[in-house]
């Protein structure tokens, strides 16, 4: 058996894969949080709920309407994005001028309410959701056995993150978003409909969370509580990457997922806190985050 640092290479690569998959979810979720915070200055505590809603919507589409994984991969994020539109238009937009605390409390309250309603109507137990037939099975990579669906999740998340990055860095819409992040008043004074831009951004963030939720459904099962555990870690990821930094959110998401996986190999006792330890160190050494601009 091949070994590395005295450990079987299969064990290491297995944990690295789990880390990479977790990192894929961290990256998608922290990316959404970062663009919402960057433009709206809202700390979206409903992000974990939107992730959960993505999974629940996919499950409902399947069990009620018999709509399968592939259409749900598009439909569920769209449906959750429309729910995001309602939240932004009906509530959030009235809080933009105020302290961050108000929108944080609003989204936190909404998250508690939605999760409570879901638990009531849905039960707290996880429901299985099968991966699509095309992606079932495994491939033997020689040094490890890779379940195809898990490989797909990593690739899908990379594609989604890269697309959002290209949208923001390379398009006109992205230039409006970046400019409005710095000085939204001036962008308005140039004739850009900034209120619409804010709504779009919130929808995009919510949709990304829901996409992560759909991708997660076959791996973690579908439950009303699946988001609340994850979101705390994702907030730590965003803090490490730097609030509002797009590339920071993506890179930090994957990196911390991998770090967590490696910690499971070498010092399993610390694996559940390693991200928070990194967060604490970053806050001490570089409060703006690894990729954040110093204020």
């Amino acid at each position: 058996m091949t070994t590395l640092f005295g450990l079987p290479i299969q064990a290491i690569s297995g944990q690295l894969l789990i880390g990479l998959i977790n990192g894929s979810f961290y990256a998608l979720l922290s990316l959404g949080l970062a663009i919402i915070f960057g433009l709206l200055r809202v700390i979206n505590f409903a992000h974990g709920t939107q992730y959960m809603l993505g999974a629940v919507t996919a499950w409902l589409l399947l069990t009620v309407l018999n709509i399968g994984f592939w259409p749900s991969l598009v439909l569920a994020p769209l449906i959750v994005a429309v729910a995001g539109l309602l939240i932004e238009r009906l509530f959030l937009r009235y809080l933009y001028g105020l302290d961050h605390l108000y929108s944080l409390l609003l989204t936190f309250g909404l998250a508690l309410m939605i999760e409570g309603l879901m638990r009531d109507g849905f039960g707290a137990a996880g429901k299985p959701y099968s991966p699509p037939a095309l992606l079932t099975g495994v491939v033997n990579l020689g040094f490890m056995i890779l379940p195809i669906y898990r490989g797909f999740v990593v690739v899908a998340s990379l594609i989604a993150c890269l697309s959002v990055w290209l949208l923001i860095e390379k398009t006109k819409l992205g230039a409006y978003l970046r400019a409005a992040t710095e000085n939204s008043g001036l962008v308005q004074a140039f004739g850009v409909n900034v209120p619409k831009l804010l709504t779009f951004t919130y929808m995009l963030g919510a949709g990304l969370a829901a996409l992560a939720g759909v991708l997660a459904a076959p791996i973690y099962q579908v439950s009303p509580l699946m988001g609340s555990n994850l979101i705390i870690i994702v907030f730590a990821v965003v803090v490490v990457g730097g609030m509002g930094s797009i590339m920071g959110a993506i890179v930090t998401g994957y990196a911390l997922g991998l770090l967590e996986g490696l910690t499971k190999v070498f010092y399993p006792q610390a694996s559940s806190i390693v991200i928070f330890v990194v967060m604490a160190i970053v806050l001490l050494v570089r409060p703006a985050g690894l990729f954040g601009r110093e204020a």
Binding site: A179, N183, L186, A189, G191, V192
Partner: protein, 238 residues
């Protein structure tokens, strides 16, 4: 100088404005006619910037009449006022650090036909073309001011609001900005210029308003300047 036209390009009447509870504009009256260059003078804190911000809608708490070619702007959100045909160059220049020079330049969407092309703008400001891939805020102060002006020439708006374009700049750059303003004026642009540099303003403006404590306290034409120089200097504290 153009003859006063019955319908001014920009008409401001009884404009009041507040920052929160603090009342800073107390009934400002200004007319700017088509093709005219009008300068707002006044000491620090007189309310010049606030007047421009109230016209664009960036100063949200405002009352009175603001008409652009007869169209009332006071109820409109900022982005619609801009689309009605206002090009705004703010006092702090507002160059975006997250955007390249070229992205800064092409950021403002077109609000009307007839703006300059990017090629024409680069002819007017050759340094900007050389630096087009640099980060916007890596430009020198003078280049940033050029960029802030160049940026709004593409969008087709015919009313230019300029807030202290010469502030803190070297004489040769001030001269360059003067040339650009004269070029714009010759092309028929209507300009409302805020300026503390009276020597500069004198070379480009057709008329002047003097502001003090959030009011217009004096008005004179370019022809009246030589006779009024002494009293102006006391008003402006220069």
């Amino acid at each position: 100088m153009t003859e006063p036209h019955p319908l001014p390009h920009l008409q401001v009447r009884g404009l009041n404005g507040w920052y929160g509870e603090s009342h800073v504009l107390h009934g400002v009256d200004i007319d700017v006619h088509e093709g005219e260059t009008v300068t707002l003078l006044g000491r620090n804190g007189a309310g010049k910037t606030s007047t421009l911000r109230a016209i664009t809608g960036l100063l949200k708490k405002r009352e009175g009449v603001i008409k652009l070619k007869g169209r009332d702007l006071i109820g409109l959100p900022t982005y619609q006022a801009a689309r009605a045909g206002i090009a705004y160059v703010p006092e702090e220049r507002g160059i975006f650090a997250g955007l390249s020079v070229a992205e800064n330049l092409t950021l403002p969407p077109k609000v009307a036909e007839g703006g300059m092309s990017v090629a024409e703008i680069y002819r007017l400001f050759p340094n900007l073309e050389e630096r087009r891939n640099s980060q916007g805020t890596k430009l020198s102060g003078g280049e940033q001011q050029m960029l802030a002006m160049a940026r709004v020439l593409r969008n087709g708006a015919r009313l230019l609001l300029l807030d202290e374009p010469t502030e803190g700049l070297a004489p040769v750059i001030v001269q360059r900005i003067g040339e650009v303003l004269r070029t714009l004026k010759a092309s028929g642009m209507t300009i409302l210029l805020v300026e503390q540099n009276f020597r500069f303003a004198r070379k480009v403006a057709d008329r002047f308003y003097v502001m003090e404590h959030g009011r217009v306290v004096d008005h004179l034409t370019a022809a009246e300047v030589p006779d009024r120089l002494a009293s102006l200097q006391t008003q402006l504290g220069v």
